[in-house]
């Protein structure tokens, strides 16, 4: 549902009821006026492991969730862009970084929050980076400098590890999420919070 067409009647007084459309098996929000079905589907998060020489671009989050923790540039893909364009845009928005997208590293289903996170390997055009509005701080980090105990999300750990395993490879099959995300090193506390209910 876009609300972009101001001529449409639903724009004036939208009102939706939960019903199962004809020939469907799932309950959807359906407009009481025009019958428009509000399909809600998983969203893509597009991100990069962006590299300058042997250093990786990392950002410290200035926003919730996980404010203050370190992440890779990543964010929701927008309408009418490709995944790679979305990933490059996020690198610019979060770290003012210009990147050239390279190989696909991983496709990580995060089904419990209806996200698909897709990370590419990318080359930085220069080491000139700066914190965008969603970052407190940005840095180029060597492998041994990565703050493994202060990563924002399990997928950041996965993308970094999968990048590292394939950094010499030109082409390879992309990785998936692990069977059980709660075993991701550094996320024991977060996992415990989920298992406690």
């Amino acid at each position: 549902m876009t609300f972009q067409d101001k001529s449409r009647s639903y724009q004036k007084n939208p009102s939706f009821t939960q019903r199962t459309p004809h020939d469907d098996s799932i309950t959807r929000g359906i407009c009481d006026h025009c019958g428009l079905i509000n399909y809600v589907n998983p969203k893509i998060v597009a991100g990069v492991v962006a590299v300058w020489e042997d250093k990786i671009l990392m950002c410290r989050r200035a926003i919730e969730p996980r404010r203050g923790f370190w992440t890779l540039p990543a964010g929701f893909m927008e309408q009418q862009e490709t995944i790679a364009e979305g990933a490059a845009r996020e690198a610019f928005e979060e770290a003012q970084a210009k990147v050239e997208i390279d190989a696909l590293i991983g496709i990580y289903n995060v089904a419990r929050i209806s996200q698909v996170q897709i990370f590419y390997r990318a080359q930085l055009a220069s080491p000139d980076i700066a914190a965008g509005p969603e970052s407190e701080e940005v840095a180029l980090m060597g492998w041994d400098e990565i703050p493994w105990k202060e990563l924002a999300f399990p997928s950041v750990y996965w993308a970094l590890q999968h990048y590292h395993q394939t950094r010499e490879a030109a082409a390879f099959a992309p990785f998936s999420e692990p069977e059980d995300w709660t075993t991701t090193p550094g996320f024991e506390d977060l996992a415990r919070r989920y298992s406690d209910g």
Copy 2:
């Protein structure tokens, strides 16, 4: 926007205005009552090239768009499932087929309609298939039986070709969409309609 929580005030009389949220650069529909932002993002279509011996499962569409044309089982991914689960569900809904997902064949951006189409290779558990409500007819086709002039979408052509190129490979880097979809063989008429207007 889900409308799943019936206790929320926006459910009673939703009214959205197009504005640019704080710290955003894109105009969104924002609820006049509660400030909820209606983010609209690209959707994932999950599909399979499902194989029994050397034959490929194809479905003739019973619904628009491209009713009467042949397609691979594919459809919009639903909340809280993985891409592979969505692809397997579509194979069952459209062709009553039980499949085991294998390799990732391709990730095809269709940016002009804000879709990402993701196709997996899959093995059929048996040759027992039957048309679901969205299919007029289903069939197991040898490579030479595929109706190349009657395919529903360019991505069906891409997924079939990319499957064929990698059918002996256990692991490989997935394919992307071509630079220019209008050059896809069999879609000359469709391409002309787009370029005319």
